[in-house]
């Protein structure tokens, strides 16, 4: 596997108010292979932005190293930065007083792109992003969705093989969010670029990411293929809908760890996480004691949001 980004033992502490030290990252390490959409996830204050900004050379870590396509971000800064580009503030990363075309020309030029090639590339990019008609209007007059698309187009025009996108769909309506996701898939599939995104929208993660790293309180709590994470949690969680329970049964079931009991129309729903297989037998024993009918058994349908919460919950425990 061709690794384009290596983060090794990254550690960062900020000096807070009154000299208080705030540990933002604690020896985090991960690798990103070429040609995938990689999710960097975590709750607010987990350390995602510090990680992204360290990769972009905007924050200097206290310890650890980052290498981008073999170039060290701290020691070989210019060469490393030539390999990546980022949208860190959504639609604010572009000049609102310039037009989309002027923005593309400016950001390409400060990244060393020659004008001759851009004469062909910029109209193509404007076309792909649906901005051709607005190409000569000041960006401040465009909708937020169009501004976000332009910010994404700016990352592409730089020619960098790695794109870091902080909340690329934040504040967009359903249609614009869908379009951005389609564009990201296309960038990865057709151009073999690598996209690293941070987002709080787990639907976006489940939809487009192949691999995720979840950070919590400055530490990595999960680093895995997204499908694998979904499978892992899906097989261990079941919902049982049963008939009416006696007070004694309810007390018995509530004593079983990792079991949740909720009333439903016809009786009760038992949600059981199968961390320990014997728990299922315990639950069945309680139900069997009164020959309570089991209406249905289903594997719990997990979306990635639930997986994310489970992982964070586990990390805290």
């Amino acid at each position: 596997m061709d690794i384009v980004l290596k983060v090794n033992n990254l550690t960062k502490t900020y000096s807070g108010s009154e000299g208080k030290q705030v540990r933002a990252l604690e020896e985090i390490s991960f690798e990103v292979p070429r040609g995938i959409i990689f999710g960097l996830l975590g709750p607010n204050g987990a350390g995602k932005t510090t990680t992204i900004k360290s990769i972009c050379g905007l924050v200097q870590p206290d310890a650890g190293s980052i290498s981008v396509n073999g170039w060290d971000v701290q020691c070989q800064r210019a060469k490393a930065l030539a390999q990546l580009t980022a949208v860190l503030e959504g639609n604010r990363n572009i000049y609102w007083r310039l037009t989309p075309r002027e923005n593309l020309e400016f950001f390409a030029a400060i990244r060393g792109r020659k004008p001759r090639r851009l004469n062909r590339e910029i109209p193509e990019l404007l076309e792909v992003f649906g901005l051709t008609e607005k190409a000569n209007q000041p960006v401040r007059k465009l909708s937020r969705g169009m501004q976000q698309k332009l910010a994404l187009a700016v990352t592409l025009v730089t020619g960098a093989p790695i794109l870091l996108l902080d909340e690329p769909t934040l504040g967009l309506d359903v249609k614009a969010s869908y379009e951005i996701r389609s564009l990201l898939r296309r960038i990865v599939q057709e151009e073999q670029r690598t996209v690293i995104i941070t987002t709080h929208d787990m639907n976006v993660v489940q939809d487009i990411c192949q691999h995720v790293v979840i950070i919590n309180e400055g530490r990595i709590v999960a680093n895995d293929n997204i499908q694998h994470l979904l499978d892992l949690f899906q097989v261990r969680s079941y919902d049982l809908v049963v008939g009416q329970l006696t007070p004694g049964q309810r007390t018995g079931l509530e004593q079983i760890p990792h079991l949740r009991l909720e009333p439903v129309n016809s009786g009760w729903q038992i949600s059981l996480d199968m961390e320990n297989p014997t728990l299922l037998w315990q639950a069945l024993d309680v139900l069997g004691s009164e020959q309570t009918p089991i209406e249905s058994v289903s594997r719990k349908e997990l979306n990635f949001e639930k997986v994310f919460m489970e992982i964070l919950g586990g990390a805290k425990a």
Binding site: V59, L88, F106, G112, P138
Partner: protein, 256 residues
């Protein structure tokens, strides 16, 4: 990476914005002109009939235009950084392989070139209004202007660095604008001649008012101008780089 591409991009952006916001730029020129006229009327009112038009008013025109040129140059970097931070584009510039120092220098040069149009317009306007006749000896003025610009660019980098670290420093930046008046108008005494742009400003006055040329400037003054201008420029750049590195350590580079 070709540096000229980065410089051309900065210059093009300056020209586009100046043209697009021409009415706004014009408003700025009118304001500067009104301020000059207020000073001029106040000056002539106070001086009355005793005022010698050939010296004092000439000196006022030259000093005002020199101050205007240097003020526009020195504030380019700190105010641009402040604006880029507020707009959210500073981080994009920091991620350019050219680096923030080089891009800031390009922005400064592009700004000076476009601001030069305003300075020339203002010189013509003030000369016409006051009826003064000045010696515009480009060959003699060019190196003197360059020395003065280098020194105030050093100040620009210095305060640009402070801006990167602390951001909300507009009120302090305004103080420097007024300090520049003193630097431009000060007599080049053995001590003051070492201040940024003071000696070049003195010789700009000598050329434009007294009709002197480069051959009138003593070797000691040449050396002082060269040494002090380079010193201010390099110290300014060094402070800028230190502040940029510190902002990276603190993680506050793009924060406002």
């Amino acid at each position: 990476m070709k540096l000229w591409l980065g410089f051309a991009a900065m210059l093009k952006k300056e020209i586009i914005l100046m043209r697009r916001y021409f009415v706004n730029s014009l408003g700025g020129i009118i304001t500067i002109y009104i301020i000059f006229m207020l000073i001029f009327w106040g000056y002539t009112g106070l001086g009355g009939a005793g005022l010698k038009l050939g010296t004092t008013i000439d000196s006022l025109v030259v000093s005002y235009v020199t101050w205007l040129m240097l003020m526009m140059a020195w504030q380019t970097i700190p105010y641009t950084l402040l604006q880029e931070t507020q707009e959210g584009t500073l981080e994009q510039l920091c991620m350019s392989p050219l680096g923030l120092t080089v891009l800031s220098a390009f922005k400064l040069i592009a700004g000076v070139l476009t601001d030069l149009l305003v300075v020339i317009a203002m010189l013509a306007l003030t000369m016409a209004t006051t009826g003064t006749s000045l010696n515009i000896d480009i060959i003699s003025l060019l190196p003197l202007i360059l020395f003065a610009l280098m020194a105030v660019s050093g100040l620009g980098f210095f305060f640009g660095g402070i801006t990167l670290m602390y951001k909300r420093i507009q009120s302090y930046l305004q103080i420097v604008q007024f300090a520049l008046i003193a630097l431009v108008a000060a007599d080049p005494s053995p001590v003051f001649r070492w201040l940024p742009a003071t000696l070049p400003s003195h010789w700009i006055r000598m050329v434009m008012i007294k009709g002197q040329n480069l051959s009138y400037i003593p070797a000691g003054d040449w050396l002082t101008m060269l040494f002090s201008s380079l010193l201010y420029l390099f110290v300014g750049i060094a402070v800028f780089k230190l502040c940029e590195a510190k902002a990276r350590r603190q993680g506050t580079l793009g924060h406002f």
